[in-house]
Symmetry: C2
Subunit: 426 residues, 2 copies
C-alpha cells in the first residue's frame, strides 16, 4: 500500500507503525489498534477453532474478530481504498499497532512517552469500543477509570484446628467478609466515606434522555444468566454502567477450597478488588479512602495488608469539537441516521498516555457490537458492520480534512442519543 | 501377648480387635485407638523425617507420636506389663483400633452398629484428647459438636468483564461476604436468630472456677502467631473454647485468585462453614436456623445454594460415676495430684456411635499434651508422659475392677480443676 512500515522492538511485544508519505498542510490522523487478543479458553465452547476464521450467516468467527483486529482492519481497508483507486489521501495517516492492550499496554505507554512527539497527530481514532446496538452508530464520549487493590487479612501463623482453637482467635476469612461487607450496603451503595465526593451527578435532563435509549432489562438479564439485575439504588442500569462508580470483588480466597470439608481456622484470607471510577474521581485518592476506611474498622486481632494495584482515570470527551463532529457526519452518512453519544463502561488506560504525550483530539468510534463475544468463546464480527466500518473510515478521513465545524449537537439522534458533556457544560 | 487378634475388612481401612481371654465376673474394658494419621505435609518443616521416629531431648518425634499411636500404645504396654509379670489381668480388655479417625470413622461406625453387641463393654477408654498441661492430669468431660455446611452464591452464568457489566448486576462474592458478615457481629457473637437458644450458660461459680485454671493469654497468642486473642465478648478464652458455640469460615473461594488482577464479576462464590456446638444444641436444628437466616436476607438477584455437611452432637459426661472416678484415682496415684476435669474444644463424632451401639461408660483420658503438634509438623510425645501413661493405665485397669465408688468431686484438684457437669446438676 506504499506505507512506510516500521517494527519497533520493545521489552514486551513489538509495536508497528505504518505511515503514509507526509504531506504539509493536511491534518495527521493516528489510527490505533492492537494485534494481541484474549486467551481463547475454554476451547470446548467454540463452534469452530478460534484461530481458523470462519464465516457463518454473514458473521466472521474467530478470536480477535471484533476485539480488535476486525474493527482496526476496517481502517486499513479504508486507506487501501484510497490507494487502489488512485485517490489522493485527504489527510496524513499513521497506524499505531500494539500487542499488549489486553495486558496493560506497558510497552506502548513507554513508546508514546519517548517517541510520541515525532508522531504529532491532530486526531487519534480508536475503534476499540462497541456500538450501542446494530441500529445505533455510536461515538463514545467517556470511559470509566479504575483503581485496583488487594486486601489481605492475616491471622494465626498456620491453619489451625477449628475445634481446638475456634472461638479463641479471630477468623481471618470472617474479618475479611466483615471488612468487605462494610464497603457496600444492601442498596448497592459504596459506604467508604468520601467515595462519591467527586462524582459529578447526571442532571435530570441527562437521566431523562438516557432513559429513552432502547434497553431491554429482561433480555439483558437473560443474556447474563442472572435472576434479576441489581446495583446502586436510584440509578438506571445504563446510568450505573456508564456514569456511576463501582466497588467490585474480582476474586476471593481463603483456607480450604477442595471437596468436602476441613475444619480449620484459616491462616489468612485475600480479596482482589477493583473500583470502576467516573470522571473527576482520582484513582489514588479513591485508593487512599478505601485504605483509611478499612484500617479504621479492622480489628486489632488480625494483621491487615492493603496493596495498591493498577489504576487509571476516567475520561470524558466533549462532542462539540472538530474531530468528533467529523466522525458524527461520517457515521450519519453511512448509516443513514445520526450517531448516539454513549459512554463506555470499561477503561482504556492508554488514553491517559495518548493525552499526555501525543496531544490531538481523541475519538472513540466503535465499529463492532456489544454482543460480539469479546473475551468469550465464539467471538465474531458481523461482515455488514465490517463493510460499513470501511465506508465510515473512508468518509471520516475526508471529513477530517475539512476545516473545523463546531456545531453544538445536544441531541444528535432521533433514537435519543445524548451528549453528557455538552449538557454538563451548559 | 496372648490376645485374640482379628483383622476386620471393611469398605475402607481395616479395623483390628485384640481381646484378652474373657473371664466371667469382671468388667469388660474397651480401649479405643486409631492407627491412621494426618498427612505429614509440609515436609520441609519437619526437623527429622515424619515416619522415622526420632528421640530428641526426651521426646519422641514422628507423625502419630501423640495422635494417636503414642497415647494408645501406652495402654497396650500396660496390658503387656500384666502379661509379662504373670499378674492376672483384673478386667477383660478388648482393644478396638480403626484407620479412619481423621477422615470420619465411617467403617467403625458401621462396625459398632453391626458387631457392637458382641463387645458389650462396661467401660470405654479413649485417650485421644489432651492433658490441660504437663502438670495437670486431665479427664475430659465434654466435647463440642459440629454442624458443617457449604454456602454457594451464583450470579451470572460466566465470569463477566467488570468494566462492561459491573454495576448492572449483583456481585456474587460481595453478596456472599454480606451474608457471612450478617452471621457474626463485631463482638464475635453469632447473629443467626435462635443460635444460642439451647445453650446452657455456665453458672457464675463455674466461670469463677474456670478462671482459676492457669492460662497465659499472651503465651497462647504468641504460640498461635496472632496479634491478640479474640472471640465472643463476655466470655473468657477457655470458656469460649470449651463451652461456647462458634461459627467459623473454613474456606472461601471466588473468581480470580492468581497473581495480579483480572477485572471480572465472578460467576459464583463459595464458603465452607462449620459451627462448633455445645451440649444441648441440636446440629440439624442449627443447620436449619442458619439456612433460614441466609435465605431470608439473601437478595433475589442471585441464586443461593446451601448444602448440609457432616454433623455430630456435643457430648457431656458426668464426673460422679464409677469409671470416671476410677480414672481420677489412677491419675492421682501416678501424678501425685488430683486430675482437673476439662472439656475438649474439638469433636469426637464416633462417641455418638459408641453411646448408641456399645453402651458402657465412656472415659476420655488424654495422656499427651496440647502442644504435641497434632496435625502439624514435628509432632511429638514426651517420653515422660508416655511412661506415666503406661503406669496410669496399669492403675486404671486395677481400679476398674473394684466395686463402684461414686464420690461426688466438685473440686478435685488444688489447681482449680472443676467439673462443669456436677455443677450443672447441683
Amino acid at each position: 500500500m506504499g506505507l512506510h512500515v516500521k517494527l519497533h522492538r520493545t521489552k514486551g511485544h513489538p509495536i508497528i507503525t505504518a505511515a503514509t508519505q507526509r504531506r504539509a498542510g493536511v491534518p495527521m490522523v493516528l489510527i490505533y489498534g492492537h494485534y494481541d487478543v484474549q486467551p481463547p479458553e475454554p476451547l470446548e465452547l467454540w463452534r469452530t477453532p478460534p484461530f481458523e476464521p470462519t464465516v457463518r450467516s454473514g458473521k466472521l468467527f474467530g478470536r480477535g474478530a471484533s476485539d480488535n483486529k476486525g474493527q482496526f482492519f476496517a481502517h486499513v481497508k479504508a486507506v487501501e481504498t484510497y490507494v487502489r483507486t488512485s485517490t489522493p489521501l485527504p489527510v496524513n495517516v499513521v497506524f499505531l499497532i500494539e500487542g499488549e492492550e489486553e495486558t496493560g499496554s506497558f510497552a506502548l505507554a513507554e513508546f508514546v512517552k519517548r517517541r510520541g512527539r515525532a508522531l504529532r497527530p491532530d486526531y487519534i481514532v480508536v475503534s476499540d469500543t462497541g456500538m450501542f446496538s446494530k441500529d445505533h452508530p455510536s461515538i463514545t464520549l467517556g470511559t470509566r477509570g479504575i483503581a485496583a487493590l488487594e486486601i489481605r487479612v492475616d491471622g494465626p501463623s498456620r491453619d489451625l484446628h477449628s475445634g481446638v482453637f475456634g472461638g479463641s482467635i479471630a477468623n481471618p476469612a470472617m474479618v475479611l467478609t466483615q471488612l468487605l461487607a462494610a464497603c457496600v450496603d444492601a442498596d448497592g451503595r459504596v459506604t467508604v466515606p468520601g467515595f462519591y465526593d467527586d462524582v459529578i451527578a447526571l442532571t435530570a435532563m441527562e437521566r431523562r434522555e438516557l432513559a429513552q435509549l432502547p434497553f431491554d432489562e429482561k433480555a439483558y438479564a437473560k443474556l447474563l444468566g442472572v435472576p434479576s439485575l441489581a446495583g446502586e439504588k436510584g440509578h438506571s442500569t445504563l446510568a450505573r454502567c456508564w456514569a456511576r462508580p463501582t466497588f467490585e470483588i474480582n476474586g476471593m480466597s481463603s483456607g480450604y477450597q477442595g471437596e468436602g470439608s476441613k475444619t480449620i481456622v484459616p491462616s489468612f484470607a485475600v480479596a482482589k478488588i477493583s473500583c470502576r471510577l467516573v470522571t473527576n474521581q482520582q484513582p489514588r485518592r479513591i485508593y487512599r479512602l478505601i485504605e483509611r476506611h478499612l484500617r479504621r474498622i479492622c480489628p486489632k486481632s488480625v494483621r491487615l495488608t492493603i496493596t495498591e494495584g493498577h489504576h487509571s482515570a476516567a475520561q470524558l470527551f466533549t462532542c462539540n469539537i472538530t474531530g468528533t463532529q467529523a466522525a458524527a457526519r461520517a457515521l450519519a452518512r453511512v448509516h443513514g441516521c445520526d450517531p448516539v453519544f454513549v459512554r463506555e463502561d470499561g477503561s482504556l488506560p492508554i488514553l491517559d498516555d495518548f493525552k499526555r504525550w501525543l496531544g490531538g483530539e481523541i475519538m472513540l468510534m466503535g465499529l463492532g457490537l456489544p454482543y460480539d463475544n469479546w473475551h468469550s468463546p465464539n467471538e465474531k464480527m458481523d461482515l455488514a458492520n465490517f463493510h460499513r466500518g470501511i465506508a465510515v473510515s473512508v468518509e471520516l478521513l475526508r471529513e477530517l480534512s475539512k476545516p473545523g465545524q463546531t456545531e453544538h449537537r445536544t441531541r444528535p439522534s432521533a433514537d435519543g442519543g445524548v451528549c453528557f458533556n455538552c449538557k454538563m457544560e451548559d
